[in-house]
Symmetry: C2
Subunit: 110 residues, 2 copies
Amino acid sequence: MEFCCAPVFEGVIEEEDAVETARALAALGDPVRLRIVSLLAAAPGGSACGCELESPLGLSQPTVSHHLRILREAGLVTGHREGRWVHYRVVSQRLDEIREVLTPPLAVGV
Amino acid sequence: MEFCCAPVFEGVIEEEDAVETARALAALGDPVRLRIVSLLAAAPGGSACGCELESPLGLSQPTVSHHLRILREAGLVTGHREGRWVHYRVVSQRLDEIREVLTPPLAVGV
DNA sequence: TCGATGGATCGATATATGTCAATATGGGGG
DNA sequence: CCCCCATATTGACATATATCGATCCATCGA
């Protein structure tokens, strides 16, 4: 999958780029998914399997799987299969990209 | 209005803080609203009235007003009335906060 | 080979969201 | 005082999303 990083603040962002960037931000714009990212980052080794998330989130397995899919499709987490488990991990580079996109030029508000 | 900045990466984020942070990210997680932020930042003086946004966005006045409201309630823009117009402006401090919240500790992924 | 377990997908459902037309509000200008 | 213009709100509607139970798929252990 390809992820772009069209900046919001260098000229007016194009409709198409806005859709792509908005997808990543919308993926983070949900309390459950924010907590998933937080749980993964705090997990020993920085990764956890899906089954370890159900209990702290208080959600069913399909629901957790649904949110992980959205995070995966937004490039925010990756999952690596190890036997029966899929170990999920935060893609910190992707977070870097998103923060970069939201960085205003110094002149904003002047 | 009060805006919190509970970090996602210092321990596991609490449900309540996640809701608040997610609201800000969800406000940015829409192509139209991203473009509004971009349009405001690119506008001369860093501000524009609502009526100036309708045409570049290709949306009706109520729809633009709706999106501006969401951005306002998320603390991402402010509006100051000048006569008949309301001049909207990006709150770059709020963007800074959001970027801060998304900053992973150096240890993520270790 | 079979049963158990983790994960993905499907179908259904309730809720949230984006959009617009119509209407209300509020400030100038004549 | 009345009319215009920018903005906000309301109501309606179509679409998207979050959630779950049921089911399917894949892998491991016995």
